[in-house]
C-alpha cells in the first residue's frame, strides 16, 4: 500500500468512526448498553380501553371513533408496576392519525397514584415512532398506568373540527439499547408539527422556552459532521488550498440542502395541516373558523348587542388570560375596546360597557360591580354562565 492509499484508507476509517461517534453522542448512546433491547413490553392497541371518547377493538388494534364532549380522547391500560428506568424507550404506532390532533403520553406511578403525568409526543405519521422517556424527569418509580391522549392542536384548530377517527395499533416499552436511542434521535428529526405560537419566534422548539427534552437538532449535528470531515481531509488527506475549499463548499452545500429539505418537509406538513382545517372553507370565511370558537361567538354576540351604540362607546374586557382579552378585542373589531385592568379602569366614564368572559361572575352590591380588585357602579345588561355584559352607570371613584 503506497502512501496515498494509506491516507485514503485512514480517511475512510476516520470518517466511519467519526460519523458513528457523532451519531452515538447525538443519540446519547451509552456504549455499554446492548445493541438491541434486552427487555420489551408489547402493548397491542386492543389492550387499551377508552377513558374519554368512544373506541372499539379491531383485531389487535383499537379504533377511536369519537371524542368526548370536550373534544378530548384518552386511551389507557393498567400495568403491573413496571419499573420506569428498566423501560425508557417508547415505541408507538397509529394509523390514520389526523394532522389536526396533538398527541400526549399520560401515565401514573405507584409512588404518586393521584397524579397523572402528561408529556407531548411527536405526531405519528403512519410509521412507528420512538421516544426516549429517560429524558423525562417524571418517568421514574413504578408505572402503574399508561395511556395516550389526543386533543385538537391548541390555538390552531377549531376544537369541533379537529377530530377524525384513527387507530391505535400498538405501543411498546423497552429497555435502553443502541437501536432504541438511535431511533429516538432520527424520529426527533423526523417529527413534524403544525404552526404553533412559537413558530414566529423559533423553529424547532415545541413551546416557549423549549422545555421538551430532545437531543441535538439536525443543523448542529450536520455542522459538526462537516467540521469533522474537513478536519480529517486536512489532517489525513493533507488537502490544502483550492482542493480543501472545494470540499468545504461541497460538504456545506450538501449539509445545507439536507437542512433545507428537512425544513421543506416540515413546511409541507404545516401547509397540509392547514389544508385539513381550512381547505374546504371559502377563503373569505377562513378567518371565522378559529381555534377560540367560543370567543368568536361571543364577539359576534357583542357586535349584535352593542350595534346601536356610538363608535366612541368604550368597552372594557375582563378575561382570565391576556390571550383571551386580546383575542376577544380582535374578534369583536371594530368595537372600541380596551382591557379592564389597573387603577385607570376605576375612572371609566358613565356609559362604558364592561364585558366579562370568565366563569367568575362579579358580585353586585349596592349597585356596584366587583371585578377582582376593581369596583364600578353599574348595572347588568346580560348575564350568562361564562360571560356577562354590564354598563357603568355613574362616574366611579
Amino acid at each position: 500500500m503506497n502512501r496515498a492509499s494509506y491516507a485514503v484508507a485512514s480517511f475512510v476509517v476516520a470518517l466511519v468512526v467519526g460519523t458513528s461517534a457523532l451519531a452515538m453522542w447525538a443519540a446519547g448512546v451509552d456504549p455499554r448498553s446492548p445493541l438491541v433491547a434486552a427487555t420489551e413490553l408489547t402493548l397491542p392497541g386492543s389492550r387499551f380501553h377508552p377513558v374519554f371518547g368512544s373506541a372499539a377493538t379491531e383485531l389487535q388494534a383499537l379504533r377511536v371513533t369519537a371524542p368526548a364532549a370536550d373534544f378530548y380522547t384518552l386511551q389507557a391500560t393498567d400495568l403491573a408496576s413496571v419499573v420506569a428506568k428498566d423501560v425508557s424507550i417508547l415505541r408507538y404506532r397509529f394509523a390514520d392519525f389526523p394532522r389536526t390532533l396533538e398527541l400526549s403520553l399520560v401515565f401514573r406511578t405507584g409512588e404518586a397514584p393521584d397524579d397523572v403525568q402528561s408529556i407531548s409526543l411527536p405526531r405519528p405519521d403512519g410509521r412507528e415512532m420512538t421516544f426516549d422517556l429517560s429524558r423525562i424527569p417524571s418517568w421514574r418509580g413504578s408505572i402503574t398506568e399508561l395511556g395516550f391522549a389526543q386533543f385538537p392542536t391548541a390555538q390552531l384548530v377549531p376544537p369541533s373540527a379537529g377530530f377524525q377517527p384513527f387507530v391505535l395499533e400498538r405501543a411498546q416499552l423497552e429497555s435502553i439499547s443502541w437501536r432504541g436511542r438511535l431511533a429516538t434521535l432520527f424520529d426527533s428529526w423526523r417529527e413534524r408539527r403544525p404552526w404553533q405560537l412559537i413558530s414566529i419566534s423559533a423553529v424547532g422548539p415545541a413551546e416557549t422556552g423549549d422545555h421538551s427534552p430532545h437531543g441535538p437538532r439536525l443543523p448542529l449535528v450536520l455542522a459538526i459532521a462537516v467540521g469533522a470531515l474537513l478536519a480529517f481531509a486536512f489532517l489525513l488527506l493533507r488537502l490544502r488550498g483550492a482542493a480543501l475549499r472545494v470540499l468545504a463548499f461541497a460538504a456545506a452545500a450538501v449539509a445545507w440542502l439536507i437542512c433545507d429539505l428537512s425544513w421543506q418537509r416540515d413546511l409541507t406538513y404545516k401547509r397540509n395541516a392547514d389544508a385539513d382545517v381550512w381547505g374546504a372553507i371559502p377563503i373569505a370565511k377562513r378567518q371565522d373558523h378559529v381555534a377560540d370558537e367560543r370567543l368568536k361567538e361571543l364577539a359576534l354576540h357583542l357586535q349584535a348587542t352593542l350595534s346601536s351604540e356610538p363608535d366612541t362607546r368604550r368597552v372594557l374586557v375582563s378575561a382570565p388570560t391576556p390571550h383571551d382579552v386580546l383575542r376577544l378585542i380582535y374578534h369583536a373589531a371594530p368595537l372600541n375596546m380596551g382591557v379592564l385592568a389597573g387603577a385607570d379602569a376605576q375612572h371609566a366614564p358613565p356609559g362604558t360597557i364592561v364585558v366579562r368572559y370568565s366563569d367568575d361572575q362579579p358580585s353586585i352590591r349596592n349597585g356596584r360591580l366587583q371585578f377582582g380588585g376593581i369596583s364600578l357602579p353599574g348595572r347588568t345588561i346580560e348575564q350568562q354562565a361564562d360571560f356577562g355584559i354590564y354598563a357603568i352607570t355613574a362616574e366611579s371613584q
Partner: protein, 465 residues
C-alpha cells in the same frame, strides 16, 4: 373584490417605489439596478401607499384604491418621467463574470428550490387566517379596527382613551407602535375588504421583493452570478425568515429588508462611489423608525456609519470620537423629542441595574440555542464565523466586505448586549424576541457570507471598476 383591483393594488407599489428609486439613483441601465428598483421599489412603494392611505383615505379606508390609488399612479408617473428626463448615458457596462464559470446551474437549482417553496408558502398563506400573536394583537389589530370601523382613528394610551370618551380614539397594546405598517395593511385590505389570507399575501410579495433586491445588490457589489444565486438561495431558504412570510402580520421582515437594503446602498455609496445611493440610505434611515421601534436603533447605526465613513481620511484617528459624538447627539435629540425608543430603552436599563449571573448564563444559553441549537437559520451562523476566520486574508483586502463585517458585527453586539445584559434577557430565554431581532440582520449576514467567501481574485471588483 375583483382580480384587476387586486392586481392594481399590488402593481402600484411597484410602480411608485421603482419610480422613486429611479428618480433618486438614476435610470436603471443595468440588470442589477433594474432588480433593485423592482425589489426595493415594491417594498418602499408598499410603504408609500400606506402613507398615501393615511393621508388620503383616513375617513374611508375601505376605498384606498379609489382615494389614494390615483395619487400613487400620478406620483409614479411623475417620478418615472423625471427619471427619464434626467437620465444620463450609462457609464458602466455589464458587470464582468469570471471566464468559464457557469452560473446557470446555480440559477436553475435556486429557481427550482425557491420556486417550489414559493408555491408552498403562498398556498399556505391563502389557507389560514392570521395566526401569529403580535399580528392579531398589535399590527393587524389596528388595521382591522380601522378598516371595519371606516376611519383611521388615532391609537392612544389606555388612560387617555378613558379620559376622552367622546373623541374617536382607540387603544390597544400596540398603541405606541409606529403606524406605518398598519397603514400599509389597510392599503392591501382596500380592494379585498378584511380577508386575512389575501392581506397576509403581502408578506409573500415582500419575500419575492427582498430576494430580487438581494440579487441586484449582490451583483452591484461585484459578486459574480454563481455566488449571487447561491446568496439568494441561502437567504430565501432560511426557515425563520420563511416562517415570517408564511405566518404574515409581523413587522420584523419589513425591517430586515430595509436594514439590509440600507446597508447595501451605504456600501455602494461609500465603497463604490455611487453618490446618489446616499439618497436611498437617507430614505431608509427615515423609514425604519416608522416601521418598528428598534428601527430607530438601526437608523442610528446606519446614520453613524454614514457620518463615520464620510469623514475625511486625515481625521481617521478622530473618527471614533466623532462617531460616538454623533450617536450621543442623536440620542440626546431623541430624548429631547421623546422618541418612543428612548422610553423602551430606559425601561430595559432601569430593570437591569442588578447583574444576575445565573440569568446571564441562561440568556447566553438561549442566545446560543437560537443561533446554533435550533433550526432557525440552517447553517448560516455556523458558516459565517468559519468563513470569516478561514478566508480572512482574502476578504480583509476588500474594503466593501470589511465595512459590511463591521456593520453586521456592531448590530450583532447591540442585540447581544440587549439580550444578555438588560431586562430583555427574559425575551431571549423564552426565544420570543431574540431570534426575531437576529432576523433583522439576516439579509446583511447572508451578504457578508457571500462577500467573505470570495477569493482574493474575485474581491472588490466594485472598487476596481
Amino acid at each position: 373584490m375583483t382580480l384587476p383591483t387586486l392586481l392594481v393594488s399590488w402593481f402600484l407599489p411597484l410602480l411608485i417605489g421603482s419610480g422613486l428609486y429611479a428618480l433618486v439613483v438614476g435610470w436603471p441601465w443595468r440588470n442589477s439596478d433594474r432588480l433593485v428598483a423592482a425589489g426595493l421599489g415594491w417594498i418602499v412603494g408598499a410603504l408609500m401607499c400606506g402613507v398615501l392611505t393615511r393621508l388620503l383615505a383616513s375617513t374611508d379606508p375601505t376605498h384606498t384604491l379609489m382615494r389614494a390609488g390615483p395619487w400613487a399612479a400620478a406620483i409614479a408617473a411623475l417620478a418615472w418621467s423625471v427619471a427619464w428626463w434626467r437620465r444620463t448615458p450609462p457609464v458602466v457596462g455589464a458587470l464582468p463574470d469570471p471566464v468559464g464559470r457557469r452560473w446557470w446551474p446555480w440559477a436553475l437549482i435556486t429557481l427550482v428550490l425557491l420556486g417550489w417553496r414559493g408555491w408552498l408558502i403562498a398556498s399556505d398563506i391563502l389557507l389560514h387566517p392570521t395566526l401569529a400573536w403580535d399580528a392579531w394583537a398589535a399590527w393587524e389589530a389596528k388595521a382591522k379596527i380601522w378598516v371595519l370601523g371606516g376611519q383611521i382613528a388615532p391609537f392612544v394610551s389606555f388612560s387617555e382613551w378613558l379620559a376622552h370618551p367622546t373623541q374617536p380614539l382607540r387603544t390597544g397594546i400596540g398603541y405606541s407602535y409606529p403606524d406605518l405598517l398598519p397603514w400599509t395593511i389597510v392599503w392591501f385590505a382596500g380592494p379585498v375588504g378584511w380577508i386575512e389570507p389575501w392581506i397576509n399575501l403581502a408578506w409573500f410579495g415582500l419575500w419575492i421583493a427582498m430576494l430580487l433586491a438581494q440579487y441586484g445588490q449582490l451583483r452591484a457589489l461585484g459578486v459574480d452570478r454563481s455566488r449571487t444565486w447561491i446568496g439568494v438561495y441561502v437567504l430565501g431558504s432560511l426557515p425563520l425568515l420563511e416562517s415570517h412570510v408564511a405566518l404574515g402580520g409581523y413587522a420584523d421582515l419589513w425591517l430586515a429588508a430595509l436594514f439590509g437594503q440600507g446597508a447595501f446602498a451605504w456600501l455602494r455609496w461609500h465603497c463604490g462611489g455611487e453618490r446618489r445611493q446616499l439618497g436611498v440610505v437617507l430614505a431608509i434611515i427615515l423609514l425604519m423608525p416608522l416601521i418598528k421601534l428598534e428601527g430607530s436603533v438601526w437608523s442610528i447605526v446606519l446614520a453613524s456609519a454614514c457620518v463615520f465613513s464620510s469623514i475625511p481620511r486625515w481625521t481617521r484617528r478622530r473618527r471614533l470620537l466623532l462617531g460616538l459624538g454623533f450617536a450621543i447627539a442623536l440620542t440626546l435629540l431623541s430624548v429631547a423629542f421623546s422618541a418612543a425608543w428612548i422610553a423602551v430603552a430606559r425601561r430595559y436599563i432601569d430593570h437591569s441595574t442588578a447583574f444576575n449571573f445565573s440569568d446571564f448564563a441562561a440568556s447566553l444559553d438561549a442566545f446560543g440555542q437560537g443561533l446554533w441549537g435550533q433550526e432557525n437559520w440552517n447553517l448560516l451562523w455556523f458558516l459565517l464565523p468559519v468563513v470569516l476566520l478561514g478566508n480572512r486574508v482574502a476578504w480583509m483586502r476588500s474594503a466593501t466586505t470589511r465595512r459590511l463585517a463591521v456593520l453586521v458585527g456592531v448590530s450583532f453586539l447591540l442585540i447581544g448586549g440587549l439580550f444578555l445584559f438588560t431586562a430583555a434577557a427574559r425575551y431571549a430565554q423564552s426565544y420570543s424576541a431574540v431570534n426575531r431581532l437576529l432576523l433583522q440582520l439576516a439579509p446583511m449576514a447572508v451578504a457578508l457570507l457571500i462577500l467573505a467567501s470570495r477569493t482574493s481574485a474575485d474581491s472588490d471588483r466594485l472598487r476596481e471598476r
